[in-house]
Amino acid sequence: MSDRSVLELLATHPFTADLSEEQQAQLAACARIAHFEPDEYLLREGQPATAFYLIVSGLVSIEVFVPGHGPRPLQTVEGGSAVGWSWMLAPSRWEFDARALERTTAVVFDAERLRALFLEDCCLGLRLVQRLLFIITERLRAARLQLLDLYGPPRER
């Protein structure tokens, strides 16, 4: 994994795989590869949201710290998905923590450069925002289902 370039990873990641080579190159110019060890934080609640993460491999827990209880995982994200969209909207601060549960590899985009790229190439910007919206919708649906407590006690019999 370590010897693969950002461009190679973008060419295979579901979020970017179907973009043109030129668009992938534009994105690669804003990105680097990062590795996270188990329990290492990708991002922390309240801190400036300066990056966008495409998870290549590993497992990341999106969680919130509850005083007296410690970190409470809300959802996990595997390779092939993305983490972090607070950088898109003011005040650009992370709303939750994201912690690696396994050794995790990610393509990390510089949010400022990504925002500039979106403004410069609105077509690319729109495509990527649509993809982010898809992920956000999926997460919202999952959160709503979790609220239902699906596996709670069924009817009496």
Binding site: P73, T76, R141, Q146, D149, Y151, P154, R157
Partner: protein, 286 residues
Amino acid sequence: MVKPAIATPAATNPFFPLPFLVISRRRETRDTVTLRLRPLSDVRLIAQPGQFMMLSVYGVGEVPISVSGLPRRPGELEHTIRAVGSVTRHLVALHPGDQIGVRGPFGTSWPLQLAHGQDVLLVAGGLGFAPLRSALLAILRERWRYRQVIVLYGARSPADLLYRRDLSRWLQRPDLVLRITVDHPDQYWRGQVGVVPNLIRQMAAFFEPANTVAMICGPEIMMRFTIRELQKHGIPDERIFLSLERNMQCAIGLCGHCQLGPFFLCKDGPVLPYSRLAPFSEIREF
């Protein structure tokens, strides 16, 4: 494919419960146990994975419970039961040496033959893993007959996971892809968190939609969202099978308590392809 109940001598009088002895009891979770039963008569009730039996506690009542295992000896039955009401509370409290009444088997079974030579995707939620476990055990017994075997299992919390010993063993198998997720992890959980339909997208590379047979069992809301996810991935409705739970009472399609549209789920179900159920999926309690 889906077969009707196998005719046995006992099935000649389907209202007559036969005496069975509890020979083992394994606690799965705080409110759920797995009982192994042995017949006290010479009659062998042969249940296929997916079918259910009517278990009766003398003087208390009778409930439909799917088979959750394969017989270790001819005629034995295995059932996983959660204490949610009067009869099930009594069943969960049974111990080896106790007797109960059993009639059946009833209903349709999982389409194991249709799945021969195919990728198999089993999606279980909560206690819905019980009917699918018997299918999985049958598949693993003849593992060579199937291509990829993928099991996705969602539970409320780590403490609510059924069949922990099986899960540990299955996680080690190179010929089985098992993913487990919980909605509410405890501080020791290092696995996935989230609802089970999320796992399907992660597994997309492992199965070929046109050659996949999916079997789903769990709460109906979970099944609804799982079906949508399978459809998004191109699995045809006729290859998606559900096990539906209803208020089965007579278990032979006479009383109508389990009716859903034109189906008596005790007889036409509990396992049905979604292609047959789809017209009724808009019914609020589908």
